[in-house]
Symmetry: C2
Subunit: 281 residues, 2 copies
Amino acid sequence: MGLTDDPVRAAADATAARRLPGKVTLVGAGPGAADLLTLRAARALQQAEVVLYDHLVSRDVLDLVPADAELVYVGKASGSHSLPQAQIIELMLQRARSGRPLVRLKGGDPYVFGRGGEEAQALARAGVPFEVVPGVSAAQGAAACAGIPLTHRDHAGAVVFATGHLREDGRGGSDVELDWGALARPHQTAVIYMGLATLPRTCEQLVAHGMSPDTPAAVVERATCADQRTITGTLRTLPQQVKSQGVRSPALVMVGTVVSLHGELAPPAAATRCGHGPEAG
Amino acid sequence: MGLTDDPVRAAADATAARRLPGKVTLVGAGPGAADLLTLRAARALQQAEVVLYDHLVSRDVLDLVPADAELVYVGKASGSHSLPQAQIIELMLQRARSGRPLVRLKGGDPYVFGRGGEEAQALARAGVPFEVVPGVSAAQGAAACAGIPLTHRDHAGAVVFATGHLREDGRGGSDVELDWGALARPHQTAVIYMGLATLPRTCEQLVAHGMSPDTPAAVVERATCADQRTITGTLRTLPQQVKSQGVRSPALVMVGTVVSLHGELAPPAAATRCGHGPEAG
């Protein structure tokens, strides 16, 4: 892409490309299913010559990238960083200077966790032109496909997204530092990204901060993918259920009475999409 | 759509359609710009024969609907409901019984405000098959296009979405009932949907609940549209700025130190998209 049928124009473009850094597009890959990309994101991928992508980007999404584009994996699974963030940024800036259209592809939405803001700042400071393409975040994909609305007049007037990522505690161990008081409010839905490893501590802290142990809670594994699983229970029961059912990352934790709607609104087990009822699928 | 080239098959399909309710797809229209629809949402619109749409759905999105489809406006502007919610649901169920593929098109994401959960429950209870297609919510569109990340390691480890919609106060007036304590937390971003009318009260209450009056805050008008405007200030200054600049709905309120990144990350004024730098656009 970026080349024209006119060889003189193409040569001029190539010269310009050597002088100017290529544009970087920070693209939200959405929650997993490839058709939950935005139209704008799909077009950016189809025009990319270099794609730096994360752990949480699905194979189906990567299939949209042209076969001759350079695909660079810079992902990090929770707890095992493939590349430190500073190196990801350095690599992105270096590749951008090649002048080729570069997509930095991030799971979900670039500005909801995942350090898109830091990467955008690095681009701005380096004078590299960039664009941000928002995406459907994992919480929204899980909500639609598990039948758990994030807000509902009878249940939750607000929704809060937090991350359960472990942080070093400075004593050789790690812990999750969340504003438990903010998450343990009534009439709201709390969604904790990457919250699987810290689920027992999360449930314990939410109860310690005043929530009933019978508050409905769910874990949604591989939201929007064909093999999505939803485990529902309560703050008291969920950690054991998740352990006994062998739930694995990526998974989201959802807490609040909206989870009680799952039985009514979830698609039947056979559906591979977010549909519900005899003709869904 | 739904018809085939085989007249016998088409007649059989038509008979089946009279017996069974048509499938309803609750589709998130995204934040405004038509290319911020998901691929799945665009396909549902292209296959729709009936579309019930809201106030916040942009003209560009509606242009994707086939010319011969029935377009029904059921929108409600803040404070002036075109149709009460019960009538919207009744109309949706009645049209679904016609057997034609129906899209219920909602601004943003169907399960983030906008009563998508209530509509899904009505469909489930009536035995109408349905599917939910998530969408990019207005907060995410505003974040990308105004250069205000919703989370950022140095600023906000969580983001909360609430709605500033006015409710009757039972004394002939109206007020906004929000969990101010939950919104006034440090190290988080608060986004208030439909928060323009109640902005002065919001700013006053956040300060009363412990936030500094110098906390950065922004209003984003018509997020992701070509005429998007972003007004940044503080909890102290924003209500007057918004008034003097004549900001109108739809608009989102964003509160938190991430707003301070707008100067660095916002696209230049000339850009009509979410781009940044000399080649953006």
